[in-house]
């Protein structure tokens, strides 16, 4: 019941917005997103009050609700789609992250006046789609929610975006749609190869493991599990984004309005990573193991390519977009290392995968904070070009402080959540994939390079008198930044709560995998 509320209430609020006058829109949206965020927090605390909390696993999710939705049998042919929602350790942090970032996105959109009703309605429908992806426990329902977020995001970028918004919006739409066509083919394949009886995650987690076998493919045989993994992965790889399918991201992130960029980077990218871990790793582990070395190499390319492209940028938002690509590489690295073959202690794999999943959460908060900061600056200065600024920290000390916090968190300063996640990933990955781990660790240095250099060029040094009229961030503008900073610091100093949520699920997943991997 709680999950149904969390998933559908935003869309309901979006419809309600259409009925009320425009001056109430922002309040309705803010209220609705706050309610959803608090409800998502209750997912965690509601389990905590029960004593020794069991946050659920894929076989046995918490807050579970399953009702038959489509149930048809024609001869030997079955089609069962259940309305199945639940949470486990992997999806709960994601749901909370989505609730938090959407609420902050609504707050940071307070200054928007152009067609505000449509804007807020689309934002809330987007939240429903993403919540559904994280909360669902049925494979077809997963794909159903996966496609919902396409059109709201397309319209959000195309209407309220920057100069090249139409190009960016169409590129996003077509790229993502082509990827998800591959994912659908993978879903069909995995469904029919596991008997075609039902599509619930529990079913696949238990039978999907046995997906060995080969497909005849133009004369050679290919492992069935690998084919399924690659088909499913294609759609997720576009979203994560993985090099070389990342080219939609710089355009989309740069041209989108601030709040939309935050949601794009903070939440939509995590949808891809979540799909990778839950579906690819969970249901086609043999294929994951076979692909793991390549995935490791691609992860290192993500990190280094993204970092170096980021260093070359003059536009702040594009720099942060490429840094997003770079930091998602750590998630890929952790996943690759956890599934790679090799006889290492299970604890290393657990560390790698826990780090990857933690990086999903922290990257959402950190990148969200970065985009919010740039948004505040752009709102005042109407430019994002680093080189025209100089010493504006003298006029905007609060923004300088918060922006710096975000940058330091991004490069993995101890005491902030980025460090915890990256440390876990590197330590765990070194055991199975040492070379790519060393290469990826270099990304930390590069991140320091481009971000600190950007801060120095734009904020420090003598004040460029052209900008002497700039005012500091107001309380409303600083609110999302402060909120995210607190989360980052809390997780950085005391990561135990969130790691305790993630670990059991991750461990259970790895134990299941080990039946096939070893």
């Amino acid at each position: 019941m709680l999950l149904t509320f969390i998933v559908f209430f935003p869309a309901l609020a979006g419809v309600i917005i259409a009925l009320f006058p425009a001056r109430l829109t922002k309040w309705i949206a803010a209220g609705a997103s706050l309610v959803v965020f608090l409800a998502s927090l209750w997912l965690y605390f509601g389990l905590l009050v029960k004593g020794s909390p069991n946050f659920g696993t894929v076989i046995d999710p918490q807050w579970y609700i399953s009702a038959p939705w489509i149930d048809t049998t024609a001869g030997a042919f079955h089609f069962h789609v259940n309305y199945a929602l639940g949470t486990d350790g992997l999806s709960m942090p994601m749901i909370i992250l989505n609730g938090l970032l959407t609420f902050l996105a609504v707050i940071s959109s307070w200054h928007i006046d152009k067609r505000i009703k449509l804007y807020m309605a689309l934002l809330l429908i987007l939240e429903t789609g993403v919540m559904g992806v994280f909360a669902t426990f049925d494979l077809f329902l997963f794909f159903f929610f996966w496609e919902i977020e396409l059109i709201p995001m397309f319209l959000l970028i195309a209407i309220w975006g920057g100069a090249r918004r139409e190009y960016a919006a169409w590129k996003f739409l077509l790229y993502t749609l082509i990827g998800s066509a591959f994912t659908l083919a993978g879903i069909f394949l995995i469904y029919f190869e596991t008997g075609g009886q039902e599509a619930s995650f529990q079913h696949f987690a238990q039978t999907g493991i046995n997906l060995v076998g080969s497909l005849p493919f133009f004369g050679t045989t290919v492992s069935l599990s690998l084919v399924i993994f690659l088909l499913l992965f294609a759609g997720f790889a576009v979203k994560i984004p993985m090099w070389p399918l990342h080219t939609w991201l710089p355009d989309a992130h740069t041209e989108a309005p601030t709040a939309v960029s935050v949601l794009l980077a903070g939440v939509l990218l995590k949808m891809g990573a979540y799909g990778l871990i839950r579906i690819c790793l969970g249901f086609a582990p043999g294929g994951a193991t076979q692909f793991a070395p390549w995935l490791g190499i691609l992860a290192a390319i993500n990190v280094l390519w993204g970092a170096m492209a980021s260093m070359a940028q003059r536009d702040m938002k594009k720099m942060i977009a490429y840094s997003s690509v770079s930091h998602m590489g750590y998630v890929l690295l952790g996943v690759a290392a956890a599934s790679a073959a090799g006889s290492v202690s299970m604890s290393f794999r657990q560390a790698a995968l826990t780090g990857a999943t933690l990086q999903m959460f922290t990257h959402g908060t950190i990148t969200g904070m970065l985009f919010f900061s740039v948004g505040v600056l752009y709102e005042k200065a109407h430019t994002r070009d680093i080189d025209v600024f100089g010493g504006i920290g003298k006029r905007m000390p609060t923004l300088l402080l918060l922006f710096s916090v975000a940058c330091f968190a991004s490069l993995g300063l101890p005491g902030m959540s980025g460090f915890v996640a990256e440390y876990l990933v590197f330590t765990g990955s070194f055991a199975t994939l040492p070379v790519v781990t060393i290469l990826s660790a270099f990304g930390v240095v590069l991140t320091a390079g481009y971000f600190l250099w950007m801060i120095r060029r734009a904020f420090h040094g003598p004040l460029n008198m052209k900008w002497s009229w700039l005012t500091d961030a107001t309380a409303l503008e600083a609110f999302p930044l402060v909120a995210l900073a607190l989360v980052i610091l809390f997780v950085g100093i005391y990561p135990a709560p969130i790691v305790d949520v993630l670990s059991p699920t991750v461990n259970q997943m790895l134990q299941h995998m080990s039946g096939v991997v070893h």
Binding site: I70, D71, F79, L155, L173, F188, L189
Partner: protein, 485 residues
């Protein structure tokens, strides 16, 4: 047993006569609209009569009333209701035809369509086909001042006559091969007497498929669709696109499945249908991108949708499975609802501005947000975007096809590629409506009937998503009755 069709014909005469008597257009329209309730109730009473028993036949098996026939009768009632509802103001403003003529012609055609699903014998297939088509020819040309409308009507007559001729020739060959025109006896003959590879039977099947292929606008029989959709008055176009297509599929399935033509020559038929399906999907979707007139674009989009339906038909043929039929019926149902909604948006635009090109949709989202929003939902449903029902119906058709075998997998992959291609032109309309700023800001007054139709369509599309399970079950019952004889 003929009562629904008879009551529709009677209603058509009543409406025609009423138009002579009264000058009040509303009375005529309301009579047509509310009068449709009577055939609907009679159809429901037929359900009551066929429950638990084998299908009822009449006229020595020329007429069959089974669950399949009832499914289509109800579908056509819904189509008739939708078309009559939406065309209220358009008829007055643009057609300069007396409304009584217009509604009575629609009802006549509707009666023919209802018969198409109920036929049990080749000649009655042809009779109902003609009863459906000839009023459609008139409907295409009803916009008397418009030369394009007259051109559309003439093209339709010529091409329709030619396709009927091909169909009749195929039927004649079938009669020659089997010695009977009764579909059940043809089925028995193909199962017992005729063997796979019988050339006469194969040629007959190809000709019959070609004849029906025209009605469902399959490639390469699709050439009429863009010109005629563009030239005809928009409510007529709506009626062609949903009614003619549904009727064509109703008869196609009836002849091929009920008449057992898939029993012999199964592999050849499957290859032919698969190739036609692939061509239809691809041509429809790719050419639609290039269009500048909304009605032409909708014509090509309908061709693409027919391609997906033919994928379902191929699924049906390859292993003679019920699920392909079920998928097609569910898809048809959703397609009807969605297309009615989409064309309502086109009619709304025509009502407001009198124009028909895609550019005229610029900024429509500002001018009338509800209609534009509804149309966006319908177009995205056609593209297969959730949460509209179009996503589920497309998913199910591809899913049923994938489960059949290696050749079908390639067809599904092509279908998925086409779905991605189709988003380009569907999303383009949404983009024009909501993103592009119009040349001048104006608020459109949309007639009440149009808004009502749009509201019904949108609610239906979203509601069907929730009750898709029951819809599939009903479609399955209808499909099974076609098989179990």
């Amino acid at each position: 047993m003929l009562s629904p069709e008879l009551s529709v014909v009677l209603l058509s005469f009543v409406v025609l006569g009423l138009d002579l008597v009264t000058r009040r257009k509303t009375a005529v329209w309301l009579t047509a609209l509310i009068g449709l309730i009577i055939p609907t109730l009679l159809t429901f009473s037929l359900i009551y009569n066929t429950f638990g028993s084998h299908p009822r036949t009449a006229f020595y098996g020329m007429l069959v009333v089974d669950n399949y026939a009832i499914f289509f009768k109800l579908l056509f009632m819904a189509i008739g209701f939708g078309v009559i509802l939406v065309s209220y103001q358009y008829v007055e403003k643009y057609l300069r035809a007396t409304p009584g003529e217009y509604y009575s012609i629609i009802l006549m055609s509707l009666a023919g369509m209802m018969l198409m699903g109920s036929t049990g014998e080749l000649i009655s297939v042809y009779i109902s086909l003609e009863l459906t088509s000839i009023p459609l020819y008139i409907l295409a040309g009803l916009s008397r001042r418009d030369s394009r409308s007259a051109e559309a009507a003439v093209k339709y007559v010529l091409l329709g006559a030619m396709s009927s001729a091909i169909l009749l020739y195929g039927m004649a060959l079938l009669y020659g091969a089997t010695g009977t025109t009764d579909l059940l006896e043809i089925a028995a003959a193909t199962k017992n007497v005729l063997h796979t590879g019988n050339l006469l039977l194969l040629v007959a099947e190809v000709f019959i498929f070609a004849g029906f292929g025209f009605k469902i606008s399959a490639v390469p029989f699709h050439m009429w669709a863009p010109d005629i959709y563009e030239g005809a008055p928009t409510p007529s176009t709506l009626f062609f696109s949903v009614g003619s297509k549904a009727a064509g599929f109703a008869a196609l399935l009836r002849v091929f499945v009920f008449g057992g033509l898939t029993g012999a020559n199964g592999t050849y038929l499957w290859v032919m249908v698969a190739i036609v399906a692939a061509l239809t999907m691809t041509l429809g979707n790719v050419v639609a991108i290039l269009q500048t007139n909304i009605k032409r674009m909708m014509a090509y989009s309908s061709i693409g949708q027919a391609g997906y339906l033919l994928v379902g038909f191929a699924t049906l043929i390859i292993h003679n499975t019920v699920v392909g039929d079920e998928a097609m019926l569910a898809f048809l149902f959703v397609f009807v609802v969605t297309n009615i909604g989409a064309f309502t948006g086109v009619i709304a635009l025509a009502d407001a501005t009198g124009k028909e090109s895609i550019r005229d949709f610029d900024g429509f989202g500002r001018g009338s947000p509800l209609i534009a929003g509804g149309m966006a939902l319908c177009l995205l449903a056609l593209a297969g975007i959730p949460p509209m029902a179009g996503f589920l119906s497309k998913l199910f058709i591809f899913y049923a096809a994938w489960g059949q075998g290696s050749g079908m997998t390639l067809l599904v992959i092509l279908g998925l590629v086409n779905s991605v291609i189709s988003i380009v032109y569907y999303a383009n309309i949404v983009y024009r409506m909501f993103v592009v700023e119009p040349a001048k800001r104006e608020f459109f007054r949309i007639p009440g009937a149009v808004t009502a139709t749009m509201a019904v369509s949108v609610v239906a599309i979203l509601a069907i998503t929730v009750v898709f399970g029951p819809l599939l079950t009903q479609a399955g019952i209808a499909a099974a009755s076609l098989f179990g004889r």
